[in-house]
């Protein structure tokens, strides 16, 4: 049960981040390398706005980050045509955010007191109460995002743009508006992840950057435009990391994690495996 709770906790964090970056990728066709640095903004808000209750800190940072996200999306819009250029712009935005945080708050890591103290027992497994609460909140938000993506008109439009932006444009979708909305929504999920999980992390300028690699791996394993596979990939990456670290020492587990992830990525790129995946997808669709 301890292991399941650990997976749930990691999935809450990486689920929010991966689904967020997947929304941005679906709409903009850009891997936002500054995505996890938005999580750092959320964590710093939780660490510094100590005059207000924790919940209001989260609301405040979500509200105040929207203009910044719109600004970054406008900046990216100029380099949409050049995918590599847009990617580098996001890298630059991330570096700028980290530098601004270092100048503003210093390099010394900060701690955030958990708004809920004490521990709870879940099926015999004892764990910190806040960790369980924030995991459940995060997983619920991921679930709500998936409902929006697959059960609302906005979600349908997003998936249409992800599949074929030109055709979606011809059918009356305003791609610029959708891109702005998607970028803001994806960014806010990252901000929420950083703020929610700040009591379990050390808050420093590199807080978000250290989360980028697992998030990117999860995005790599998802199908472009499919938020459900992004969430599943985040669950897979979280489970793999937790299970390896449960069975093996951290040092061995960390090395093996990268071996397994790179191995899967390499295997997926083999034509035979790709064909197998495609066929299985068709079979799954027909069965449904």
């Amino acid at each position: 049960m301890d292991v399941l709770l650990a997976i749930l906790s990691q999935f809450g964090l990486f689920g929010l981040l991966t689904v967020g970056i997947a929304i941005v990728f679906a709409a903009l066709r850009v891997v936002n390398l500054a995505h996890c640095d938005f999580a750092m903004l959320g964590a710093y808000a939780a660490a510094t706005l100590t005059g207000m209750p924790f919940g209001w800190r989260v609301v405040a940072v979500l509200a105040t980050t929207i203009p910044l996200l719109v600004l970054v999306e406008r900046l990216l819009r100029r380099s949409f045509a050049d995918g590599l250029g847009a990617l580098l712009v996001t890298w630059g935005v991330g570096m700028a955010l980290r530098q601004i945080a270092e100048v503003t708050f210093g390099a010394t890591p900060r701690a955030v007191a958990a708004p809920i103290s004490g521990s709870v027992a879940v099926f015999g497994a004892q764990g910190p109460a806040y960790r369980l609460v924030c995991s459940l909140v995060a997983v619920t938000v991921v679930g709500l995002v998936l409902v929006v993506a697959y059960r609302t008109r906005w979600g349908l439009t997003l998936r249409a743009v992800a599949d074929n932006p030109a055709m979606a444009g011809l059918l009356g979708t305003d791609p610029n508006r959708l891109r702005t909305t998607a970028f803001v929504a994806g960014g806010l999920l990252a901000v929420l992840a950083g703020a929610l999980y700040s009591p379990t992390l050390a808050v420093s300028p590199s807080t978000g950057f250290s989360l980028l690699v697992p998030t990117f791996f999860a995005l790599l394993f998802s199908r472009p435009g499919s938020l459900a596979t992004a969430a599943l990939a985040a669950l897979g990456v979280s489970a793999l990391a937790v299970l390896l670290r449960t069975w093996l020492s951290d040092v061995v587990a960390d090395a093996l994690f990268y071996v397994v992830v790179i191995g899967i990525a390499a295997a997926r790129s083999r034509p035979t495996i790709r064909r197998l995946v495609t066929w299985s997808r068709r079979f799954a669709v027909r069965s449904a």
Binding site: A6, Q126, F216
Partner: protein, 397 residues
């Protein structure tokens, strides 16, 4: 569909490589005093930016206040001491390049600084090649003793020898060690094992985790399963905070568990004081020391830099350490080899101890250690361990 992702893989790999190898090294200039003839010139290599920039900044501030004190008293040989500060961003590649530049272009007679072991190793090589003395102020043991390298920080033996027996006596004999996964924590754990066994205890768990860990639950579960009485932690950087917080949240870090190590350092006090208040920490220098020289330094540091948090120990080591070096230079002149010889034989009185000196077979400062009690306001020295010798010979000296 797939190509942007594939391209991203390549770009991320390149950018991460560039970032991790540090293209951020930069040089700053700084000097003090008048230039009359040939003043003594010191090159300071410190990380002022990056994850350990705060420790580097504290070292720089302590160093500058120490030089200012000597200059206010007339300098060395009637000339004010000059210095050049460079920022290596904590990257050994930058450290090597910048140390070479300080020696070859700026013609410094002494090198000072660095925070991490790998950057100290990089500058140590340059100092040896050029026969320029190099002095560090951070705690820990260099991997190799070098003829031109000297350390003012406490060695691992000096850190653990006085405190570990007290922990075993107060909390119990079962010791667990946890650290970040690099050389120094393993060295620390090795000595902790030796001293634990010598004190009649047992090391019941030893865990290392790669730097940058966000979730410590598996490590904490293993540590809890070992049921330790004492936890020695050499988890460093931001990880020290994440680990300590999660250890407390998971019920490992309780008042009944003895706790000592890096998370108790002054650098982490603003983040962890709620968890560490009331605990004891072995230090070479603390801002709560009551001798007049320390009081003056603390007062100058706080007023100069508008600093209210506890002053990191490395700042005190740098402040009194550079005064040791300048006392040696006052006797030896500007010749680096002569300064190096004098550093090796000098006995110097300061709050770090009476007659502090370097052991010739390991270049470790033989000085006093103190027992500091952590409070919400800082570190109060509650006991004096006295001089703690470390004369274990090391290869290279």
């Amino acid at each position: 569909m797939v190509s942007p992702l594939r391209r991203s893989v390549c770009v991320i790999s390149v950018l991460t490589l560039l970032s991790s190898t540090g293209c951020a090294g930069s040089a700053l200039s700084g000097s003090s005093g008048a230039d009359t003839g040939a003043p003594l010139k010191i090159g300071v290599v410190v990380p002022l930016t990056g994850p350990i920039g705060q420790a580097g900044t504290a070292l720089r501030r302590g160093f500058e206040l120490g030089v200012a004190k000597v200059n206010d008293a007339g300098g060395i040989g009637g000339k004010k001491v000059e210095y050049v500060v460079v920022d290596d961003a904590g990257d050994p590649a930058n450290s090597t390049q910048l140390a070479r530049r300080l020696v070859q272009q700026d013609k410094v007679s002494v090198l000072f600084g660095t925070i991490t072991g790998d950057t100290a190793e990089a500058v140590g090589k340059v100092s040896d090649d050029n026969k320029i003395p190099f002095l560090t102020a951070i705690l820990g043991d260099p991997e190799q003793c070098r003829p031109y390298q000297w350390g003012f920080g406490e060695s691992t033996r000096q850190l653990l020898t006085p405190m570990l027996p007290q922990l075993l006596q107060k909390y119990g004999n079962r010791v667990a060690v946890v650290g970040s996964d690099y050389n120094y924590p393993r060295l620390y754990a090795g000595l902790a094992k030796e001293l634990t066994q010598a004190g009649g205890g047992t090391v019941v768990a030893e865990e290392y985790s790669p730097i940058g860990q966000t979730d410590w639950q598996p490590v904490i579960a293993r540590l809890k399963a070992a049921d330790p009485d004492v936890l020695l932690s050499m988890v460093v950087g931001a990880d020290a905070i994440a680990f300590s917080q999660q250890a407390q949240q998971f019920g490992l870090l309780t008042p009944e568990l003895g706790f000592e190590g890096a998370p108790l350092d002054a650098d982490y006090h603003p983040a962890l004081s709620a968890l560490t208040t009331g605990r004891h920490h072995a230090v070479r220098w603390a801002d709560g020391m009551t001798d007049p020289a320390s009081r003056q330094f603390v007062s100058d540091y706080r007023s100069t830099h508008q600093w209210n948090a506890p002053i990191p120990e490395v700042a005190g080591n740098a402040y009194f350490g550079i005064q040791f070096v300048l006392a040696a230079a006052a006797k030896a002149g500007n010749d680096p080899a002569a300064i190096n010889r004098e550093i090796g034989s000098l006995k110097f009185d300061s709050p770090l101890g009476t007659g502090t000196h370097f052991a010739s077979n390991n270049h470790i400062l033989q000085a006093e250690m103190f027992d500091a009690t952590i409070s919400p306001d800082g570190y109060t020295v509650t006991a004096k361990f006295g001089p703690v010798a470390d004369t274990v010979a090391r290869k290279g000296c």
